[in-house]
């Protein structure tokens, strides 16, 4: 599971959906893997405003990844402010770092824990399983 995904998933239980503590889910015993993905700065620029930045910070902190800026980077942080040249704006290191974090950093094995109900969802071979046991449905 990509870290970008973790910014959009919550506990699957109906009872948890209304609680703010069901998001984000917290990784536990996570084994991370870097998987190379094609870099698309335009995609990043459009994705940035959709992110819950604070949730992303929490996850980075829990996974002991480098600290993020304190607020969502602006679109202007993603491209070098070039001169008058006609060549397209070059992506910045910030853009490359975000790409690596959101799209290339994946949880290969581990658990995702809901801090509202404590339920643990397993991730195996990169695929999270959100099916609930009958007593939690």
């Amino acid at each position: 599971m990509k870290l970008l995904t973790l910014n959009f998933v919550s506990c699957a239980r109906k009872a948890c959906k209304s609680s703010t503590s069901s998001f984000p889910l917290h990784p536990r015993d996570a084994e991370l893997e870097l998987v190379e993905m094609e870099f698309n700065p335009q995609f990043l620029q459009n994705m940035l405003p959709k992110l819950e930045w604070e949730a992303l910070q929490i996850i980075c902190n829990e996974l002991a990844l480098p600290t993020l800026p304190s607020s969502t980077p602006a679109a202007s942080d993603l491209f070098e402010s070039g001169g008058e040249g006609s060549s397209p704006a070059q992506p910045t290191q910030v853009a490359r770092d975000l790409h690596k974090l959101l799209l290339e950093t994946t949880i290969r094995e581990g658990l995702l824990v809901c801090s509202n109900c404590g339920h643990e969802y397993a991730i195996k071979e990169g695929i999270a399983n959100f099916l609930l046991p009958p007593h939690l449905v």
Binding site: K2, T5, F8, V9, A12, K14, L44, Q45, M47
Partner: protein, 238 residues
């Protein structure tokens, strides 16, 4: 017949267990995207984020590589096939009535050939509702279901026919002698080169207008709808 008190275990037996067992064969026959979902996905701007609920083998995950799609399927076997085919997107195992996504943040959603597998109207409406609740204000969801009106297909169903049906899926596979040894196989044709097995899947066949009715009952607005090759489709928003 569905509609009893245990609709979930009915679907477990007549939908989920079947797909789990036919996953590989099913996937090998489902590689060509239908035009409606394909062009719906192509109409979205780069960096849009959305869902593919009941993604099967993931044949829509490559329609538009500038999107980010959180795909899910109830079948772990199909999810594994989708994940290995389309690493750019995300694939999870999830139940359509218990989606693990945050409310109100997605630009789009598709659910193709999925909602017709829920065995009561209440559950079909709930399935549409759970897709709707993920959409942001202005986000659009495409739902495609099998039509009752498919006179031109080999099945020949039409208006007035029974809407709750079992549809067979026949798999043929070569016998693997080494794996069968010592196992009390109940199949009649042991010793033949191929075995044939029939799985029956439950479907609710939608009559004209029914999908829109359910979408409205789920709290959605119908933006557009139509018929394409034995299927009804509708585009909805919250």
């Amino acid at each position: 017949m569905p509609g009893g008190e245990n609709d979930e275990s009915y679907e477990q037996e007549h939908v989920h267990d079947v797909y789990e067992q036919i996953a590989e064969h099913f996937s090998s026959t489902r590689y060509k995207p239908w035009p409606t979902p394909h062009s719906f996905l192509l109409s979205l701007p780069p960096g849009s984020i959305g869902l593919d609920v009941g993604c099967g083998n993931g044949k829509y995950l490559s329609s538009n590589p500038s999107l980010f799609i959180l795909a899910s399927d109830r079948s772990a076997n199909l999810a594994a096939i989708a994940a290995s085919n389309y690493p750019r997107q995300e694939v999870s195992v999830a139940d359509g009535l218990r989606l693990p996504y945050t409310d109100g943040r997605f630009d789009f959603a598709i659910s193709v050939a999925v909602v017709h597998h829920f065995s009561t109207r209440e559950r079909r409406v709930a399935a549409i509702e759970s897709v709707l609740s993920c959409l942001r204000e202005g986000g659009r969801g495409l739902v495609v279901v099998w039509a009752l009106e498919q006179e031109s297909s080999r099945r020949g169903w039409g208006e007035g026919d029974e809407q709750d049906v079992m549809v067979p899926w026949v798999t043929r596979k070569r016998k693997d002698r080494s794996r069968d040894q010592g196992r009390g196989s109940g199949e009649a044709d042991v010793g033949e080169k191929e075995t044939e097995k029939t799985f029956n899947r439950y479907y609710h066949l939608y009559r004209k207008g029914e999908l829109e009715e359910e979408a409205v009952e789920a709290g959605g607005k119908v933006l557009e709808s139509g018929y394409e090759k034995d299927n009804w489709w509708t585009i909805i928003s919250r």
